[in-house]
């Protein structure tokens, strides 16, 4: 499934979409950034409630297919701008992490 298809299926809010054709390969959920960097794999969808700018760096370095901010967690315009510049797919949902990843697992 591609990131664009995921957006449509789960009605996600698009904050930054630089490559909707990116294929999703599994997922990882978590808020501790070092933990995420140690455990997540390239192509994962990353579900988190963290929204500081370091999230963009982690998403880029791990090479996530998309990063999904859950619980409609508030995010600064500067962070969204950085995501666009760095070519990161950044999405948002009102669903809590558990509900989002449960819905995702039914799809992928």
């Amino acid at each position: 499934m591609t990131v664009s298809e995921l957006v449509k299926s789960l009605d996600l809010e698009i904050l930054s979409m630089t490559d909707g054709t990116r294929e999703i390969k599994g997922a990882y959920a978590g808020d501790l950034l070092s933990w995420v960097m140690g455990r997540a794999s390239a192509g994962n969808v990353w579900a988190t409630i963290m929204t500081n700018v370091n999230v963009v760096a982690v998403a880029s370095l791990v090479d996530m297919s998309a990063t999904v901010i859950c619980e409609n967690s508030e995010i600064g315009d500067d962070v969204i701008e950085t995501a666009k510049q760095k070519g990161i797919n950044l999405l948002r949902t009102r669903l809590p992490i558990y509900e989002f990843t449960a819905a995702l697992s039914r799809l992928i």
Binding site: L32, M37, N52, N54, A57, L61
Partner: protein, 140 residues
């Protein structure tokens, strides 16, 4: 490539929001050099953790990355407080990061273990009151 390529970065210890810029820039450089995605990922993660540590724990520092035909070597140097017990610091979960840093999602004590895991070779030289130099090699 015949001659090794050297990239240097100043890591600003005052600006936490820009932390990680050197690693993200280096990732781009390696991609342009045609290095494999898996090797790039390992370099980027190891370097990012080291860069964040220099910002959180040492007030900034310097990163030097040398790309040769068979390896990427990353040297991170700071003049911070040094690490009292390197063996303890290398343990998963050990962290002296303050509360405000934990609130940003750092300070899980996984940085040095992540660096060790992603590098083929890693040495930590640290002297209390003088600073820390970490050298990591990722074979490509």
């Amino acid at each position: 490539m015949s001659e090794p390529l050297v990239f240097t970065f100043d890591v600003d210890g005052e600006n936490f929001t820009s932390a990680g810029e050197a690693s993200v820039a280096m990732k781009k450089n390696l991609r342009m050099l045609g290095i494999s995605p898996e090797a790039i990922r390992r370099v980027a993660i190891a370097m990012y953790e080291g860069e964040i540590n220099m910002v959180i724990h040492a007030g900034g520092g310097k990163a030097t990355v040398t790309v040769s035909s068979d390896a990427v070597k990353i040297i991170l140097e700071d003049k911070g407080p040094g690490i009292a017990n390197v063996e303890l610091a290398m343990k998963e979960g050990f962290s002296t990061a303050p509360e405000n840093i934990r609130n940003l999602g750092f300070g899980a004590g996984m940085g040095l273990p992540n660096m060790k895991k992603n590098a083929d070779e890693m040495t930590v030289e640290s002297t209390l009151g003088v600073g820390t130099t970490i050298t990591m090699t990722v074979n490509i």
